[in-house]
Subunit: 298 residues, 2 copies
């Protein structure tokens, strides 16, 4: 049997089933970050992301943007758990004929973003490779009471996103701002019940929240904010790498958030009983079941 027959999420389940950890692991495989015992009032957040030429960026892409993205995707994972980033390591596989100029641009993209988010670049590994490969591993921390996982969505919660969706393929995936500030605002002011960053597409990432929380959802076509670059609703529903936050909170809190007239957050739906699965309500009020699909490596 080939791994493509199990699919990316089948593989993750298979790996998860083989592993047992000790009590210092609050959350292992299956969320945006691993959550680890740290201090009395804080958890460590630990995450990694691998970027490969031809998969996550085009080989001819500006290396500054590639370096920037390599750091940004892990920052987005830290944001999705409510935390602040602290340190990162960078493993670089470089083709032997890489120019020093290319490497300098790649590093400049990383360092610029690291500075902006007060992230220390504390080490890494260099290796010869046939094609450029970058793996960033990142450490952050979150106050225990501000930790948000995928598994806390409750019946009646309102679902929000932190920005317009569907613009990824036109370049947003290389230029997005990781939503650290927005996440910290939310976890400071509200009890956020569940959160994830949209890396595989709205529908697929929402389905992760629904599965982990054992609930269903209605989302409203008329409420989903479309990126100016989105070609159609499909782009907003199924296209990966928007890197916006997708989160849920109780309706009382949701009203408060909306009344703040923050232009940062869009309500797009609500959490319902698991039996409804995930449904899209069209502009005439008619719900239809959504097939769970989005970006998958396998």
């Amino acid at each position: 049997m080939r791994i493509s027959q199990l699919g990316e999420f089948g593989l993750i389940e298979r790996i998860k089933a083989k592993i047992s950890n000790d009590d210092s692991v609050k959350q292992g495989i299956g969320d945006d970050c691993a959550v680890l015992a740290y201090r009395k009032d804080k958890y460590l957040l630990f995450t990694c992301d691998m970027l490969l030429a031809g998969v996550d960026f085009q080989p001819r892409e500006d290396p500054y943007l590639v370096g920037r993205k390599a750091i940004a995707v892990s920052l987005s994972d830290i944001a999705a758990c409510g935390g602040l980033p602290h340190h990162c390591l960078v493993s670089l596989g470089l083709p032997i004929n890489t120019s020093v100029k290319f490497l300098d641009r790649l590093l400049a993209g990383m360092i610029t973003l690291a500075r902006k988010y007060k992230l220390n670049l504390v080490g890494g590994d260099l290796s010869r490779a046939k094609e450029l490969v970058i793996d960033v591993s990142m450490l952050g921390a979150v106050e225990r009471r501000r930790l948000v996982l995928r598994n806390g969505a409750r019946l009646g919660d309102i679902i929000f996103v932190s920005g317009p969706l569907g613009g990824s393929i036109k370049g947003k995936h290389l230029r997005f701002s990781p939503r650290i500030r927005e996440s910290r605002f939310l976890t400071q002011k509200f009890k956020i019940n569940s959160m994830i960053d949209i890396s595989d597409g709205l529908v697929q990432d929402l389905s992760h929240i629904l599965k982990a929380s054992n609930v269903g959802a209605f989302i409203y076509e008329g409420l989903i904010p479309l990126d100016r670059q989105a070609r159609n609703l499909e782009d907003a529903l199924f296209m990966g790498e928007d890197f916006e936050l997708l989160f849920t909170l109780a309706s009382k809190d949701a009203k408060k958030l909306i009344s703040m007239r923050q232009k940062m957050f869009w309500p797009i739906g609500e959490i319902v009983d698991k039996k409804y699965n995930l449904r899209l309500v069209d502009r005439r009020g008619k719900p239809r079941k959504l097939r769970i699909k989005g970006f998958r490596h396998f």
Copy 2:
């Protein structure tokens, strides 16, 4: 200019010069692990290692041994700093036609070693790739007073290795035992002044200690323990991936260590003034300068 003209260590220096970190970073780029503020009495150790098909293992190699090695090399870095491993993440780039059986074997190698060293496997990232690539990032901790870096070697220190050298190419690089236990024994009983794991070859890794500590060394041909598989002295001096510990301690402590008749540690030389650089003393007592060479990616 191509990166190969700068060389691996030139590149590392170039990257290091661009980076500035805050006070929570006790040691950034340039040692076996990054050393980070943690608790009053402990530091966090943070390290990563990337393994690529065709560079770090042959594509036809038993995936169990490849998975094992991917974990072992990072364990060896934690050992080199005197610490204990706690958590790791695994980023996997897999060719689309990988079999589930292959993946299961790869994981089995990782999990077996992780269990043995009480290491939690807390997450990772899966990605499509043309060739197998594995990046493991690992977190450990070390008591502040037991932390060992490369930069503490002192005049008169005796230089030791933790095992016979030069057997790497015959398979040791896939089967070695990371020297966690040995390292903990040493840092419990002695003040270890400097330590590194031999990943690039005895001479090259010793040169890292010498440079960081601003000293020189004599090593004695007759004292260097040869692996049964080593073809000659050159293998022991210059071949990478022995993954033994190379460390120095004051001569008084060294005598004590030797008198313990531990069969784990071999004295091979002594730390001398920087002006001597690194010299090999042959069996007739004649010293010759050693060219610093070993495994380099670029």
